[in-house]
């Protein structure tokens, strides 16, 4: 029981940490592009990014399974060229989780960048600094509270993910079984003490993360943009 418990928690946190790390790496350049691009179809891209916030996880999960299936070209290509099958594996769950948590990373970063006056970016350019130096040394530190919010929200959202993991990964102990699914499973088996342990850990971690966001953001409230 203890090994299964530890294994489930390990997979839960591995999934949440991997999702968050991948998303911060994708999210920063993507939010920058969304903020400053004049691409005409940008509203459609914004809508697509926000879709996971309004769609049931089962819809995304269903489409992910369709894409992963070796009967379709992407799944077939992965299987033939790389001998990779994504359905019901940790890798498949991770990709689905990245897509599903995308808006939780992008939205705070995008809003943070949009709230900055253009003059900050322009001042840095006229002081001879490149776009990348401006982003890393001026814009990113100026939206620090948004970065913290984005990371914490993505992490908290990923450790609590249920629907999409169940659809894409199933409930395979040691591979795709995460805490939220384990709670459901234990309750179904009337094993309430195990369910309680999982639930308490998820509750405590989420609470600590959200409390951190609010206290850190309070500290930076005084950082008005001059």
């Amino acid at each position: 029981m203890d090994t299964v418990f530890a294994q489930t928690l390990w997979i839960t946190f591995k999934l949440a940490v991997s999702t968050t790390v991948i998303l911060i790496l994708i999210g920063l350049p993507f939010a920058y592009w969304l903020t400053y691009s004049r691409f005409r179809l940008k509203p459609f891209v914004e809508a697509l990014v926000s879709m996971p916030m309004v769609l049931p996880p089962s819809v995304i999960g269903y489409y992910m399974l369709v894409i992963y299936s070796p009967r379709n070209w992407f799944g077939a290509w992965l299987a033939q060229v790389f001998d990779i099958r994504l359905a019901f594996t940790f890798g498949g769950v991770l990709i689905a989780s990245v897509i599903f948590s995308l808006p939780f990373m992008i939205q705070p970063l995008y809003n943070g960048l949009r709230s900055l006056p253009d003059s900050l970016r322009e001042a840095s350019y006229t002081l001879g600094k490149s776009k990348s130096v401006t982003f890393l040394r001026v814009l990113l530190p100026a939206i620090k509270p948004s970065v913290i919010t984005a990371v914490a929200l993505t992490f908290a959202h990923s450790i609590g993910e249920f629907g999409i993991v169940l659809m894409v990964g199933g409930n395979m102990p040691g591979e795709t079984r995460v805490a939220s699914i384990a709670i459901y499973d234990e309750v179904q088996s009337l094993n309430f003490s195990a369910a309680n342990q999982y639930a308490f850990i998820l509750f405590a971690v989420s609470f600590v993360l959200l409390a951190t966001i609010y206290s850190v953001n309070k500290k930076y409230e005084t950082w008005q943009i001059i």
Binding site: S119, L127, V138
Partner: protein, 295 residues
């Protein structure tokens, strides 16, 4: 084109609150001068500065700094803001909120030089605030940091966009000296956007007036803002603040310089073409004014 001149000949369609206006500026500026760009709001002053800084691309035209072409629409040359040796001081100062006063100045340096930072901090009276973030500074202090930061870049062209507009009149007068000092210190050509006559007279050796997107007049401030054809004893240039009817005469209140109020008596036919906000010149020929020093 001579090496000591800056040549500007650009056109840009601007969208303003009063509809589209074509900014068409043709001007030649001598290097090393402090030039004021004067005009009412929406005339295109800030757009001109942003075009010079490379932040806005003109529709057509040419900008040359001596022999160096910064923009040429025919040859499709448009040097990026990073590569123009220009500093623009923004109206909102645009100080970086995550950096201290010292770091803001350091950031602007092409090559890190701590002695130079110390010098700028002491020249602008900022030494004691060096470790403070911009949020902990007063309006005047922020303005000084922005000025020091603009100089730290060692620009050939210093662009100041209404640098004193956010300050009260007392602080304005004080900081005008600092701008004059900054201009001398840098040796750069300085372009100052202003709609304050007092500021233009005090600081600029040359003024370019922009009205509705075109240069209406340019020259020395004294020549541009007063009428040499009037052989009067006293000339007061200002803006009409009020026109009040008093029996058969009218009292026109003119505000000039640093909130100096002058009341002029005018008859009905004198004020026919005048309205509040018009820039006017009041002069007298009959009496010799007496000037004496105030104790």
């Amino acid at each position: 084109m001579a090496d000591h001149l800056i040549e500007i000949d650009i056109e840009k369609m601007m969208v303003t609150v009063n509809g589209p206006v074509n900014l068409a500026v043709k001007a030649v500026i001598r290097k090393g001068e402090l030039v004021a760009i004067f005009g009412s709001s929406g005339a295109g002053k800030t757009t001109l500065l942003r075009i010079l800084a490379g932040l806005i691309k003109p529709d057509r035209g040419l900008i040359k700094f001596g022999d160096l072409v910064l923009f040429d629409s025919e040859k499709q040359i448009n040097i990026a803001p990073q590569n123009r040796n220009i500093s623009l001081m923004f109206q909102d100062y645009a100080l970086f909120p995550n950096m201290t006063v010292e770091q803001n100045i350091q950031f602007a340096q092409p090559v890190r030089n701590c002695k130079e930072v110390d010098k700028l901090l002491s020249v602008f009276g900022l030494a004691e605030f060096r470790k403070r973030k911009p949020n902990g500074l007063s309006g005047g202090q922020k303005q000084r940091v922005a000025l020091a930061r603009a100089l730290a870049r060692k620009p050939q062209l210093l662009l100041l966009d209404e640098p004193l507009s956010a300050l009260d009149s007392e602080m304005r007068t004080k900081l005008q000296n600092e701008i004059a000092q900054a201009h001398l210190l840098s040796g750069a050509t300085t372009l100052l956007v202003s709609h304050d006559l007092n500021e233009v007279f005090r600081l600029a050796s040359h003024v370019v007036c922009i009205e509705n997107g075109i240069v209406s007049r340019s020259g020395k401030p004294g020549d541009v803002f007063s009428d040499d054809s009037i052989s009067g004893k006293v000339q007061i240039t200002g803006q009409i603040a009020a026109i009040e009817k008093n029996d058969i005469i009218n009292i026109v209140t003119v505000i000039s310089g640093n909130n100096q109020i002058t009341k002029v008596i005018a008859f009905e036919n004198d004020i026919e073409n005048l309205k509040i906000g018009d820039r006017v010149i009041a002069f007298t020929k009959a009496f010799n004014p007496i000037i004496s020093k105030l104790s």
